[in-house]
């Protein structure tokens, strides 16, 4: 039985599952924008609400942290870059490098904001089928006649569809390398190269097979999309999210 990553739709009855996908897309944009403008208090509030939402989706926070451990490498790089590029009162000095209190604060804040965007994206992906994303993107782009809405929507839904495939391939490749003692090699560049190339190759092979299977079942841009319908729940949630974003910014 395949071990699953958290990245992918999960059938459920949570509040987010019940919302219209178009509203969820808007919430994702609003929360991401608000997190860029807000400070510690606002970020704490947004984090709390997202954690509650993820618990409601019934996904284990432990498994999220485990699957996101690779993103932590990116966050560490961003943190270091921010710390070293922000001037202020020196906290630690070493040769030409100087770490300021303001740098540490700014670095932590930027990483926190990114974590919020990731959490919001995760909550969206966990509660929305790729076919619904396609239908919503198509609906949003409909007024813009010059934009190839169907093609963009199809590409977006395929990206979401392939995300768990990539993570699963990474996990399996890493396990296979662990079984052959890759952890004894301490050079991170060597390990990254030895991991990256097979993952890319396997992902492309798997994507190729999936594309073939989709083609065999007549896949095209024109298909029966899910019916989108909004109700009182969606409008109430929109009011709440707008209110939340405003108070976090102010």
């Amino acid at each position: 039985m395949a071990e699953l990553t958290v990245f992918g739709f999960r059938q459920g009855t949570s509040f987010l599952h019940q919302l219209d996908v178009r509203f969820k897309l808007i919430f994702l944009v609003f929360i991401s924008l608000a997190s860029l403008k807000t400070q510690v208090a606002g970020l704490s509030l947004l984090t709390l609400i997202l954690v509650v939402a993820l618990i409601d989706v019934r996904v284990s926070l432990g498994s999220i942290l485990r699957d996101l451990r690779y993103a932590s490498v990116l966050l560490i790089f961003i943190f270091i870059a921010r710390v070293l590029s922000t001037s202020g009162s020196a906290f630690v000095e070493f040769k030409i490098f100087s770490v300021s209190r303001e740098g540490l604060y700014e670095g932590a804040l930027v990483c926190w904001r990114l974590v919020i965007v990731i959490m919001a994206g995760l909550a969206f992906v966990l509660t929305t089928r790729p076919s619904e994303i396609k239908a919503a993107v198509e609906w949003i782009l409909r007024p813009f006649k010059f934009v190839p809405a169907k093609r963009i929507a199809t590409m977006m839904s395929l990206v979401v569809r392939f995300m768990p495939v990539i993570f699963q391939e990474a996990k399996e490749t890493l396990d296979a390398q662990r079984a052959r003692g890759v952890e004894n090699r301490k050079n991170p560049v060597y390990r990254l190269v030895k991991l990256g190339i097979p993952i890319l190759r396997r992902t492309f092979e798997r994507a190729d097979k999936l594309a073939l299977a989709m083609e065999a079942r007549c896949y095209s841009e024109n298909r029966t999309d899910p019916r989108l319908s909004s109700g009182i729940k969606d409008w109430t949630a929109l009011f709440f999210v707008v209110f939340l974003c405003l108070i976090t910014i102010i």
Partner: protein
């Protein structure tokens, strides 16, 4: 009535090697045909020409009188293909989403999609799993899900590429039972295998491929003695000199 007609079919890959050479094959509607051959003999390449996943370099492929390369959509609807690796065939996020994928691609109404999904899941006894994640199913259940995904498109011909690969004994029995009941329901069945053991007791006709060529075509009883010459293992029962039995007995 002829459902599949293949005339002088050859397929050349991009690297210049031939996958198929001058294949001529006609299949009658409602028959159960097994295509046997060792790995790399061209079985999968041949099957992929039946629904246009591969197109002929030379020659003709027709399904129900319709030329495959010129009518890809309608022939893909007529010829449902179950791939060797069920995992890579799963497209949907839940069992019912996966089965709905094909009918949705045919732009059917939502009511019709639901009707077909329920019917197909009922046929393969997976109706109780409709909201489950497909990756959590067992090997045999995944293969049955792949069959349901094809059945929902209401095809005339069902093509199975190594349907028993990497399945345990209960999984093999489940899938074999399913294939036989689909044949009994009137579908034309094509099964490609490298090991005839599980399926030979049920087939009407045996086609043997070797190095991209169709080398033998006839009744299983007539060809069973010649299998080893083409790298195909003879069924155990035949080696022991007893009658070949179904795996379902």
């Amino acid at each position: 009535m002829k459902i599949i007609e293949i005339e002088d079919l050859s397929h050349r890959f991009a690297d210049g090697t031939y996958g198929l050479k001058n294949i001529n094959l006609t299949i009658e509607k409602g028959t159960f045909v097994v295509i046997a051959g060792q790995n790399g003999s061209g079985k999968t390449t041949l099957l992929r020409h039946l629904n246009g996943l591969l197109l002929p370099t030379t020659g003709k492929v027709r399904v129900a009188g319709i030329s495959v390369p010129e009518n890809l959509n309608s022939t893909r609807q007529m010829v449902g293909m179950v791939f060797q690796d069920a995992d890579s065939q799963i497209v949907g996020e839940t069992v019912s989403d996966d089965v709905a994928f094909g009918p949705e691609n045919l732009c059917l109404g939502r009511g019709e999609v639901k009707r077909r999904v329920d019917l197909a899941l009922d046929l393969v006894n997976l109706l109780d799993f409709k909201d489950q994640k497909p990756h959590l199913l067992s090997g045999g259940e995944k293969r049955r899900l792949a069959i349901a995904g094809i059945l929902a498109m209401e095809p005339e011909v069902l093509v199975f590429d190594e349907p028993f690969a990497s399945l345990d004994y209960p999984g093999i029995k489940q899938v074999l039972k399913q294939i036989i009941s689909l044949h009994q329901a009137g579908h034309t069945i094509l099964v490609a295998v490298h090991d005839l053991e599980k399926v030979i007791a049920h087939t009407d006709r045996l086609v043997i491929m070797n190095h991209g060529k169709l080398v033998k075509d006839g009744l299983p009883d007539q060809l069973i003695g010649e299998l080893e010459a083409f790298g195909i293992r003879q069924p155990c029962a035949y080696r022991l000199g007893v009658e070949v039995q179904s795996w379902l007995n």
